[in-house]
């Protein structure tokens, strides 16, 4: 299945949970979604993340400008040890891409602390009537569930209601940023735990540099393998 169909598939339900992504895969896929929805289609998109969004921003600028993401990252974080480099950026392309993001309807909020999620969610639900987002991506559900004692049934029912009223699509991303072996074990557990709540739970795994394989949960043991092309 091609990339567009996968993204369409992800957006087919009001709420989708995408489970089991290592960091690189999560960043790639969320950036794809942000690029498609906010930059290409001009939709109002809100990305709430419990991780630093600099990687997403670097990839997004890279997609828009066609400049290399690792070079962009060095300009976003010039005080990192890896920042010293003789290769200079094309300043006009770089700035033009940033200005394109400024003109878009993309909004990102970094939350430092998952424990305030319940308070944050109520505030967010109050604002949604006015904001009427087309797409909201929430990264990472596993941290929210672990640290906020959030009632997942209540949250999903509230978001479903918001989705029906304002046609907003919600995507949760879950996963851990650990070594490969630990990641697989915990993620598979997360995935089975979450799929009882929703029909649209998608498991992504086996991220390699050249491909991103997507396995739908209902096809987990059948041949449900899809590929996303490399975004780096």
């Amino acid at each position: 299945m091609d990339r567009d169909k996968i993204i369409k598939n992800i957006l087919s339900e009001n709420i989708t949970i995408i489970a089991s992504l290592p960091l690189g895969g999560r960043v790639s896929l969320t950036t794809e979604l942000l690029y498609d929805y906010a930059i290409q289609k001009g939709k109002k998109t809100f990305f709430i993340t419990l991780e630093k969004s600099t990687y997403n921003l670097a990839l997004l600028i890279s997609k828009i400008s066609k400049l290399k993401a690792d070079l962009i990252f060095k300009y976003l974080e010039p005080c990192l040890i890896s920042s010293k480099d003789d290769i200079k950026i094309d300043r006009d392309k770089y700035i033009a891409a940033i200005e394109k993001i400024r003109r878009s309807n993309l909004y990102i909020e970094e939350l430092d602390d998952a424990s305030i999620w319940n308070w944050y969610l109520d505030r967010f639900l109050e604002s949604i009537e006015e904001e009427k987002y087309d797409l909201v991506i929430i990264n990472r559900l596993d941290m929210i569930l672990e640290k906020s004692k959030c009632n997942i049934n209540r949250m999903l029912s509230k978001l479903n209601e918001a989705s029906r009223n304002y046609k907003t699509k919600f995507i949760f991303i879950t996963g851990v940023n650990k070594q490969h072996d630990e990641f697989e074990l915990k993620d598979i557990k997360n995935y089975y735990k979450l799929k009882k709540y929703l029909k649209n739970v998608i498991l992504l795994q086996k991220i390699t540099k050249s491909e991103l394989e997507v396995i739908n949960y209902w096809n987990l043991y059948e041949v449900g393998r899809f590929k996303l092309k490399e975004v780096n």
Binding site: F47, K52, S53, T54, L57, K74, Y75, L76, E77, P78, C79, L80, I81, S83, K84, D85, K88, I89, R91, D92, Y94, I95, I98, E99, I101, R102, R103, L106, Y107, I108, E110, D112, D113
Partner: protein, 188 residues
């Protein structure tokens, strides 16, 4: 080097108590003085505050571009950035970033506090000067006691000087048991 900054390097570990506002400006001034003017390898370890905050402030200080404009280019996805009237001086902005890349200033942040910072990160650091902002987070979010932390800081072999930042309120609540060289900056 200005005398008031030279004094900060007299001891291995120095605690700066900033009594008034202006901590960020002071840290930026130290980074500029130590690293750009004197070529010391200086590392800012920001605990609880994102390093991008200092990054923006530093670009602003060195380039003369107002912080609010830099912010719109560093965070193009914020509501306040969507007003497209403010355009940046591209040459000045990129040149300043490249100057910082080529300088001896390094920064990182962490919102995860555990013993790893003390046991694994600090011993691996090779710096002339390490600035830690701030002492309160460093002590309260670690399982080590204040005495143990200071002992470990003093024992680091590959860092020449460590400067920790605090303010009056934090200092009082920490109720430090030992005497450290505390430099007071600002009026009561």
């Amino acid at each position: 080097m200005k005398d008031k900054f030279k004094e900060l390097l007299d001891n291995k570990v120095t605690l700066i108590n900033v009594k008034e506002r202006g901590k960020v400006d002071l840290i930026l001034e130290l980074l500029e003085n130590f690293s750009i003017k004197n070529n010391y390898k200086t590392y800012l370890f920001s605990l609880g505050i994102k390093n991008t905050y200092y990054n923006n402030a530093l670009i602003s200080k060195l380039s003369g571009i107002p912080k609010k404009i830099i912010q719109k280019y560093e965070y193009p996805y914020l509501g306040i950035s969507k007003n497209n009237k403010d355009k940046i001086d591209r040459e000045k902005y990129i040149k300043t970033i490249e100057n910082i890349q080529n300088s001896n200033i390094y920064m990182s942040d962490t919102i995860i506090f555990n013993e790893d910072i003390v046991d694994y990160i600090l011993p691996d650091m090779h710096e002339d000067i390490l600035i830690i902002d701030n002492l309160y987070n460093f002590i309260t979010k670690s399982n080590y006691s204040e005495t143990e932390i200071f002992k470990k800081l003093n024992k680091t072999k590959m860092i020449d000087n460590i400067i920790l930042f605090t303010n009056n309120k934090q200092l009082e609540s920490l109720n430090l048991k030992n005497n450290y060289k505390i430099v007071e900056i600002g009026n009561d």
